[in-house]
Amino acid sequence: MLTAIKNTLRIPVINLGRLFQTSAPIATEKFVHKRIPQDDEGVQGEKIIDLDSVLKSKQSLFPTLESDNLLFDGMPYNQLPICNIRVTHNNTIFTMTDAAGIVKLIRSCGMEGFKNTKKGTNIAAQTTAISIATKAIDRGVKTIRVRVRGLGPGRLAAVKGLQMGGLQIVSVTDNTHVSWNPPRPRKARRL
């Protein structure tokens, strides 16, 4: 019994004698496999890229075969009116069509009173969007799907403006014309 206590006491006594060490401790530790982390799969934000996790978790964000007949505001998805937005560097054009593609309303930043370079700003796009939204609501349109084509400063502002105007947006689609084997484009700008 006494020897057992002695043995336990011995180690701290030895340590007291060496308050500071003159050399670095020798690595006597054995290789522990547990310390190496496993290849993890599916932990968000660590190894999987952010977008992939979004795609994994929110499958309902994207259309499927059945989504054509989903009801929005009492109307199936493929019967909802469409708002086509053509965004360019110099202008933004909105057209409201029904599901078949027949144009009901058309509005552009130039029609709204913006002139020259001011047509191609996001503020112009937003005000035009709000005005066309109010006009559409007057005609009894409430929920729409949006199809955006082209890149420009008004791209985000246009979709936002439609919502601010009081329309309910069901989906946003990109319809930018992109080709991987296009005909020869126009010559480059000289700056």
Partner: protein, 96 residues
């Protein structure tokens, strides 16, 4: 099979590809997700490249630059990984 039939009837059916549904009236999020997808798939880049004709000299220069950047990025990533590595099996390497 239904999808094949649908594609046969219309080569470019709209509101299938590049479409994001808006959840909880959050248009901003949907647009951002759409833009991120377009960027990742290289659609925006292709659009930008094919807006104006790119002369061969410019193509060569761009591709060479991309190669250099890829090599540099790979090396730098390896370096950063090396500096930030953890769980060393020897806690004080080279000290004895």
């Amino acid at each position: 099979m239904f999808l094949t039939l649908k594609l046969l009837s219309n080569r470019h059916p709209s509101f299938i590809a590049r479409t994001v549904f808006v959840k909880n009236n959050n248009v901003d999020d949907a647009c951002r997700l759409l833009n991120r997808i377009l960027g990742k798939e290289g659609i925006l880049e292709q659009f930008r490249l094919t807006r104006y004709y790119e002369k061969h000299l410019q193509t060569r220069r761009r591709i060479n630059h991309e190669k250099c950047k890829a090599i540099y990025n790979e090396d730098m990533e390896r370096k950063i990984k090396f500096v930030l590595r953890k769980n060393r099996h020897e806690p004080f390497p080279g000290c004895h």
